[in-house]
């Protein structure tokens, strides 16, 4: 016994629009609504018009907005009355009660409502009024409906649900003063989640800016991007440290080479003043070590050298580089037979170690 079947036999559109107009205008006046009262869901039979009116004023706003929107959607979209009324009747009890009340308002004196008469009379008046404009079949339907439980919380939920549903139905309608903000598909309307979403977007924008600064940053993943950033900051700080070590002029620079070369933890020259003999001693120690390793396994020798930030290269290439470049920033070779070959200026060795350190630190980053 759905009402929707009955609505198909409604009057044509014109009268229905008039009906909506009347409903809207009727909402503004005080109407006794015997069945809507907060918490009195079970008691349909003891209404007091003034009690009801208070609730009705609250809900009239809901209803008026909803109905106005329906009217506009009906006018704009050219909707047929059955569908409009159908969506009206989704919260069946409420809508039917609204219709019944408004119909009643049209056709019956307000005075009769305002008098605190027994509910039966008012309900009968309502339904008589309703019969005046509709066929008799429907009165029976409507008469049955107000017997439903119309507690106000249920009403509120229904109104909200209907407004959301109506909003979905009347998609093209302009936004009326609704109770809820309509959200986009798949996103929440919660102000907290909106704020969170905004925040996440801002942070992502910052990450993109960082991506341009950090070299080798073609990672799309946020975690790997953070890793890259951390490694790059560490690398830059290490570079500053190494550069500050070599940033010295004069005699003190000679002491740097053994110190930096022994940074791998091989062994420190315990008592030594900064002298070239110390320098050579450290170098020969390294060279002997490399020779020993090379006899066993080439790979381990290379790793040992790498750990110290040195590399191996043929003598011819080393001499070619040292003669070709004007300033001694070429990489120095650490060869076992280094007797007279390699340059031995402390600045050169420092730069070698420094650039090699730079290289190795880049390589070692995960």
């Amino acid at each position: 016994m759905s009402l929707q079947d009955d609505t198909n036999s409604f009057d044509p559109t014109v009268t229905h629009d008039d009906f909506l107009d009347q409903m809207l205008s009727g909402l503004q006046t005080t109407v006794s609504w015997p069945d809507i009262s907060a918490g009195n869901g079970g008691q349909n039979k003891s209404p007091l018009p003034w009690d009801v009116v208070d609730h009705f004023d609250d809900q009239s706003a809901f209803l008026s907005s909803k109905l106005r929107q329906h009217q506009i959607s009906a006018a704009a979209g050219g909707r047929t009355p059955p569908s409009a009324v159908k969506s009206l009747q989704l919260p069946r009890g409420l809508a039917s009660a609204a219709e019944s009340a408004l119909f009643g308002n049209d056709n019956i004196d307000d005075s009769s409502f305002k008098s605190p008469i027994g509910d039966n009379n008012s309900i009968q008046n309502l339904f008589h009024g309703f019969t005046g404009s509709l066929t008799s079949n429907q009165t029976q339907q409507f008469r049955n409906l107000p017997a439903q439980n119309l507690g106000s919380p249920a009403v509120m939920n229904q109104v909200q649900a209907s407004s959301v549903a109506a909003g979905g139905g009347g998609g093209g309608a302009p936004s009326q003063p609704r109770q809820r903000v309509r959200a986009r598909r798949g996103q929440a309307t919660d102000p907290h989640s909106i704020a969170e979403r905004l925040r996440r977007e801002r942070i992502a924008e910052r990450m993109k800016a960082l991506q341009e600064l950090v070299p080798n940053a073609n990672k799309t993943d946020k975690a790997s991007m953070l890793d890259e950033i951390i490694d790059y900051v560490k690398f830059l700080q290490l570079q500053v440290k190494v550069l500050s070590m070599s940033r010295l002029g004069g005699a003190a620079a000679g002491a740097i080479a053994p110190i930096v070369a022994e940074g791998g933890g091989v062994g420190r020259s315990s008592n030594g003043t900064a002298s070239s003999s110390n320098n050579d001693a450290a170098m020969t120690v390294t060279e002997n070590q490399v020779v020993k390793l090379m006899e066993e396994d080439m790979g381990s020798a290379m790793q040992y050298l790498q750990g110290k930030g040195l590399c191996l290269m043929p003598i011819s290439l080393a001499t070619a580089i040292s003669t070709a470049t004007c300033h001694p920033s070429a990489s120095r070779s650490n060869l076992p037979s280094l007797a007279g070959g390699g340059p031995s200026s402390p600045n050169m060795s420092v730069l070698t170690v420094q650039s090699a350190n730079g290289v190795s630190s880049v390589k070692d980053s995960p």
């Binding site: 960082l210 003190a252 002491a255």
Partner: protein, 179 residues
């Protein structure tokens, strides 16, 4: 679109020029004022001390170029001031300790008075304390208690300035070694 009043990011060339000037001035000061006796300890320590001073001079120069706009530069300058203050306290010379403390304390308060937008709300800041973010907070000076967005902002500025600093130092090293 930035909510707080951040100045536009500085031109890197300007940064480098200003940094180079201040850094060279600091190096000059270092070379001139070698107050500690030369042969007090072995060469290694001397070298280490000297290199640490150079490093501090470099960071200080960079931070003073940036000024008080950025949290990391304020933190660096404050650390350096604190360190010198602690050193003077720890040293055996008791003279004018109070006065020095007062002066640096005022500076400290002044530096900390800068309005920082605080957002300690855990709901709003889901990425605040994940593992890598913690590492980043330790690396960038002054970024321990920021929210995530400010942290990213500071990191970007810090990386920019640090890269400029490294480039200038590299060219200076090359210059010094060729001559």
């Amino acid at each position: 679109m930035s909510p707080s009043q951040q100045p536009s990011s500085p031109n890197p060339t300007h940064l480098k020029i200003r940094f180079a000037r201040r850094f060279l001035r600091a190096l000059n000061n270092l070379n001139i004022t070698k107050t500690s006796p030369d042969d007090d300890d072995d060469g290694e320590n001397r070298v280490y001390r000297r290199s640490r001073r150079v490093k501090i001079a470099a960071y200080t120069a960079m931070a003073s170029v940036v000024g008080s706009r950025r949290a990391w530069s304020r933190a660096v300058l404050w650390k350096v001031r604190n360190r010198s203050r602690n050193r003077s306290l720890l040293s055996v010379r008791p003279r004018r300790k109070r006065v020095d403390c007062k002066i640096t304390n005022n500076d400290h308060d002044h530096a900390k008075v800068f309005v920082r937008r605080r957002n300690p709300n855990p709901k709003r800041d889901p990425f605040r304390d994940s593992g890598q973010v913690l590492k980043l907070r330790k690396l960038v000076p002054g970024a321990e208690t920021m929210d995530s967005w400010c942290l990213m902002d500071e990191t970007a500025d810090y990386i920019k300035c640090l890269a400029a600093q490294v480039e200038v130092m590299k060219t200076l090293v090359d210059l010094y070694t060729t001559t």
